[in-house]
Symmetry: C2
Subunit: 784 residues, 2 copies
């Protein structure tokens, strides 16, 4: 059972204030009540689990706490704090000590303020019980301590280590908004015991094979390619065989034995089969199963907490009506609430949601309908207005003339897309050719013109405002088009600008800016991506990959935390041991990376000098190389040569932490996401919303819309004689569910496990006690 | 929807002969009827789907066809046919042409005979409709043709190619018994379209990145470590980037760009992230999903076919009884049937199965109970007799004396196991030390004595017959003990014998046989495996891994087929191009593998000369190395150097076929097996069988049995005065379900998907029509 975050709880008795309105009329709610309800609903919407104080002042502070500005600011300060590593010794760009110290103090101050704000929001006892807060405070204190000690030591001329830098990523984990990241860490922690057992068994197998290898091969006097003795030292064998599991030294490690006798290959093949294939798959299997199991449990708890919060919000806004048996929420209150929770939502969209909730058109909704609001708001609905093209308004005769209409039809035709796909393919070939050739470089202008022409034509045919709006009209015509016209337009226009600048520079001073040329090249190649978009099957696959996006962001943070810690430790251990001399340097030390110990090693021979821990950027790049695994034994033995054999431990630990644990979690996520994409259908609520949209005849069907456009034009054409008809000016509202997009990661996860979730989690129980007494221990509800 | 094998069908109307017995007595069935029923039941038991003729002669021939001897013979001939590659040019050991030709002709004859036998068994039209048979015949004919052409060409002195050798593995696939292998191939074929789409998208991404790399890096005049131009040729870049996806040339491919400027690493990191992590996970996800989907469908069909065959067998044996409303099968017929289907089953076990079927003790069973017989027989039940130790019979006073009983208790105590685990650990350390030291080598004798003592002690305490029986007593005490005492005993005794032989050889002539010493070492190390068995958690993991065993066998065949084809092609393409000179050779050509073209290449420098296609054994080893992926670019460029650049295609195709498709299917299987192990519970039928066993008080509980042993002894001790009591001589029968072992791969698969299977597949419908009209198109039943 996973542990939910201790103090993120919902208050004990918020419903105490709920007013009873004996008369049938809707009775007004105080501003405080409304704010409390807003806090609950927005917590439910974003799956926040903060046990805030329900006093009006605390609620107002809480709403401020959740405002986007302070949240963004905290992340900016974390970013500043983390990137300080680039300016501290060993630095990419060394800043004076006082500058980095001052910046760090500023960051610490910001974190302290944020924490103080949080302390004001939640009850004191809850605050002190939360390990997150304790962790942040300890981190801040330790950092301050370390800064003072370090400053004092540096001033007194002693050498000192800024050990507290390892703690910096902890702030990213423990910040209130880091829920996804904490969940990922919990997921890892939960899988850890199982991984440990498999790992021990795997290590046992490696040790056994190493013992066998020592006995079989150690005494034969074999030599490696370098002439070193082969398989004579037990510890070396264990390390070599461990590296073989990662396949990094295959087949080299086998060759001496193979050259001596064929039978020995059986030993290695058996080893690779058991340890690389069976055990590595077993690791993936264990991580995958645990990941699925615990994530399901957590999402289930999230769903429960969400319903619970909605029930509380309902309790605040509810009123009794004579006509209704159950307490209800009036339309006015509901509207106020939605407007406060999601100010960005359009009135039309809000009315649509209301009509989904209030199916019987009673003017008020019961608890059941109210509770689904959080889920309804999570469904992304595109509101769009179909209005005539502005050109149609300005030059109706011209725009609706026969040639113009023919042009519109041509642009909308499938052949138009195919022609442009062909142009792109030809362009791809041209790009591959030598651009020094004047014909080729002139071709670029031709293609740019063609692409611009396409954009102009589309602007002519489609309504420009919707073309450039957030959920563009064109985008909506085929919602799954991931490479939107906007992206395309940006690329083409940027390419145009960059090409013009480049040509200007070239023709003026003969100076050819390398950077601008690079950008031009990249933009040119990026233009080609559009081809993929034309093929339906590719689009589905890409959509799946893109939908993993939010989860990849979480994994990005996870990797950042782990990399940062390893980079800090690595920099302290290995800084300055390996030196990189520029390409043009003629220093003889260049051949052995400035460290005579490396002379003749594979590390120096492979020209790996730049793979060092001399600053945070090269550390990160080196860690990426270690994550990719290949040649990691060369890298690790290089650093072991310049320091001590035990330095390999650092690299092995990194391999276990990142490759065996984190990468497998990443693969698990991709597996699960593909599985969901292949099997899970739309959720119930989405279906009911979609049905409602269709019922109200506001749906946007892809073909229908395209037809509409043309028909619309034709109708307007027909009644052109009667001047500006009502039909043309009426801007028809239309809705479309961006069915597979989710506003939050949680909503995506919820959908992922919707099929597996216990239906009781979706049932609205009136008594919170009934939920608490459920058969799963949920500390979140223990106080309710 | 997967295509089941076309002609493996069940006959149209076998039930026509079912007799009606108007009187209540059981009416005897003819031998022919019984044989037909046996054929059906054993087909259901082993999931054979052969549409055999129901004439008595054909049924008898069919039973002969399924006899173990011809089946084993066919596999022996296939093995001989496949291993001919080792003796044909280019050979491991060259045999004269007439010898291999003669052997191959013999094999062809055997296959023809087997096919002729099959043709006799099934109806003519079904035989010719089966693609398997056509495939075998075409293979045989083509092979014969090729042999004649090759023979003629060789005799006339021309050079010739034995191209038909590529077809040999097809026999393994198309043989009647190769159902599992065909299923694996079908699984691959079904996943192929989806894989293709992802692959195309992946290739598009690689091509785009290559274009970008060409534009960004091609003009900078960078050099690789070898001084070659870096990223200037588009095709080379594509190949390099493809290799980077397999991580084989990371980070070397990045280093020149990284050395020139840090920003370029962004390009490579993005490339690795998208192509190595995202796309490779996507391949696994697609293969995994397809694998699950189609396998489920196939297993569902298998289950249906099985029920159907059982219904037909029932129809043959059924009779009407006055007391019963429905037709039934009498106990006598049931017994005859089970005895014929599974001759190895003990009478007690048979009676147990009957009592599970005939729950009401009516002396006959209905259709519902009859149909589950196939599943019941698939549950492995261990029958064991608890009888007193023979020593107790021979020397009762001595065996039951106080010191003897104390000894028994000691051996059964947990501490005994722990002491021996510690001894093994000490042994492990000793093995690791230098065995030239006389003290250490004498230690070996000590340990051997200790291990022998353990075996003797166990033999003293436990009944020797059960100790050595197939499902040993000891084994049964803890069914999950995978490293059984028997395995342990064999290892210890072999080690003893080998050590004695080695010492004898050593002391006699001072001659130290390397081979025997190697075996001694391996046996010594293998002894250590026992430690793992003591820890419960390890046992579970190992059990899961072992349970994948049968599936791994199927994958072994799959890999064999693919490797064989690639080896044959590779040998024709690359034989003799790379030469290996022995370790002691002083030939200067040794440095460049006998091919001047290889001078200075990474291939020769890494000493990869023995990785060649000069015979079938080294080809297979090379293919294993290519499967492991690392350094495959060095190998492929080596062979491209000695032949032609297009030779790389061979290696890329191999990579796609084996690493992207087959290894992913293997990983999918491991994932699924672990998932099953973690989530699926015992099947219903097993539960009912287990309940019955418990009901009959025949269950073997682990602790109970251990207690029983001691109690038994104590009771016998108490009534020792009354001489040979009945209690002691009575051999109590006991049963235990080896709950997680399955006799056939199909049964295992069935369990794997049991949870997902439509319950209707398990319902016994009386009308076959009702099954046929089900909502899934099942060609197997289209004729019913």
């Amino acid at each position: 059972m996973s542990e939910p975050e201790q103090s993120e709880n919902i208050p004990e008795d918020p419903a105490g204030k709920a007013k009873e309105c004996p008369n049938g009329a809707s009775c007004a709610r105080s501003k405080e009540d409304l704010e409390l309800a807003v806090a609950y609903v927005s917590d439910a919407l974003y799956n926040r689990n903060i046990y805030f104080d329900t006093s009006p002042r605390a609620v107002r502070l809480y709403l401020l706490y959740n405002h986007w500005l302070p949240r963004v600011l905290v992340y900016v300060f974390i970013l500043v704090d983390l990137s300080l590593a680039a300016f501290e010794e060993p630095a990419v760009l060394l800043w004076p000590l006082w500058a980095t110290m001052l910046l760090e103090l500023l960051c610490l101050l910001a974190f302290t303020l944020r924490l103080a704000h949080y302390a004001k929001v939640i009850p004191r006892d809850k605050f002190w019980k939360d390990p997150k807060n304790i962790c942040i405070m300890v981190t801040l204190l330790l950092t301050l301590m370390d800064m003072i000690i370090y400053g004092a030591l540096v001033v007194s001329g002693c050498s000192a280590v800024r050990w507290s830098r390892v703690l910096r990523p902890l702030l990213l984990v423990n910040v209130t908004e880091g829920r996804q990241l904490r969940r990922a860490f919990r997921s890892i922690r939960n899988a850890l015991p199982e991984i440990c057992y498999v790992f021990l068994l795997f290590m046992f197998s490696v040790l056994m094979f190493a013992l066998m290898a020592l006995k079989l091969l150690g005494k034969r006097g074999l030599k490696t390619v370098d002439g070193a003795p082969y398989f004579t030292n037990y510890l070396e064998i264990v390390l070599d065989l461990y590296v073989l599991v990662t396949t990094a030294n295959s087949p080299d490690i086998m060759m001496p034995a193979y050259n001596s006798e064929v039978v020995f290959t059986l030993f290695f093949i058996l080893y690779i089969f058991i340890n690389t294939y069976i055990f590595m798959s077993a690791f993936l299997a264990v991580v995958f199963n645990n990941y699925k199991k615990y994530l399901k449990e957590e999402v289930r708890q999230l769903v429960r907490a969400k319903r619970h919060k909605m029930v509380r919000a309902f309790a605040i806004l509810q009123e009794r009506r004579e006509a209704e048996a159950e307490p209800v929420v009036s339309r006015a209150h509901w509207r106020q609430l939605v407007r406060l929770v999601q100010p960005g939502i359009s009135t039309a969209h809000r009315e649509l949601l209301w009509s989904v909730c209030d199916l019987q058109n009673r003017g008020c909704i019961g608890k059941l309908a109210f509770v689904q609001l959080a889920d309804l708001l999570n469904i992304e609905v595109i509101t769009l207005k179909s209005r005539p093209h502005p050109l149609q308004n300005w030059f109706p005769t011209l725009y609706l003339s026969a040639p113009s209409r023919l042009l519109c039809r041509m642009v909308q035709h499938r052949a138009f897309v195919i022609v442009y796909d062909l142009i792109i393919l030809v362009n791809a070939v041209i790009i591959g050719l030598d651009e020094e050739n004047p014909i080729i470089s002139n071709c670029e202008w031709l293609f740019l013109t063609l692409y611009l022409l396409e954009i102009v034509l589309k602007l002519y045919v489609f309504e420009p405002r919707s073309f450039f709006s957030k959920h563009s009209f064109w985008n909506c015509l085929s919602t799954s088009h991931i490479i939107s016209t906007r992206f395309d337009t940006i690329i083409v226009v940027s390419a145009l600008i960059a090409t013009i600048i480049n040509s200007a520079l070239k023709s003026s001073g003969g100076y050819n800016s390398r950077e601008i040329l690079d950008i031009v090249f990249i933009l040119r190649v990026l233009r080609l991506i559009r081809v993929v978009d034309s093929i339906q099957r590719f689009r589905t696959i890409i959509n799946t990959l893109i939908r993993i996006g939010p989860a990849i962001l979480t994994f990005g943070q996870l990797i950042l935390v782990v990399y940062y810690i390893f980079a800090m430790v690595g920099m302290e251990l290995f800084k300055g041991k390996v030196r990189f001399y520029g390409e043009d340097s003629s220093d003889p030390a260049k051949a052995y990376c400035g460290n005579p110990l490396l002379q003749g090693t594979a590390f120096a021979q492979s020209n790996y000098c730049r793979n060092n821990f001399n600053n945070v950027v090269s550390s990160f790049i080196l860690l990426v190389e270690l994550t990719v695994v290949n040649q990691w034994h060369v890298l690790s033995s290089g650093f072991a040569t310049v320091t001590h054999a035990s330095a390999r431990i650092f690299f092995v630990v990194f391999h276990i932490a990142v490759v065996i644990v984190i990468i497998n979690i990443f693969v698990s996520f991709v597996l699960e996401a593909f599985y969901v994409e292949y099997s899970v259908e739309k959720g119930d609520l989405q279906t009911s919303l979609e049905r409602k949209i269709e019922e109200l005849e506001l749906a946007v069907a892809q073909e229908k819309l395209e037809e509409n456009l043309v028909n619309n034009m034709e109708t307007t054409d027909n009644d052109l004689g009667s001047g500006q008809s009502a039909t043309r000016n009426k801007s028809t509202l239309m809705f479309k569910i961006a069915s597979k997009r989710y506003r939050t990661v949680d909503a995506f996860l919820q959908r992922m496990f919707e099929a597996d979730l216990d239906p009781e989690d979706f049932a609205e129980n009136d008594e919170p006690e009934a939920q608490t007494s459920g058969n799963f221990a949920n500390p979140t509800f223990s106080s309710a």
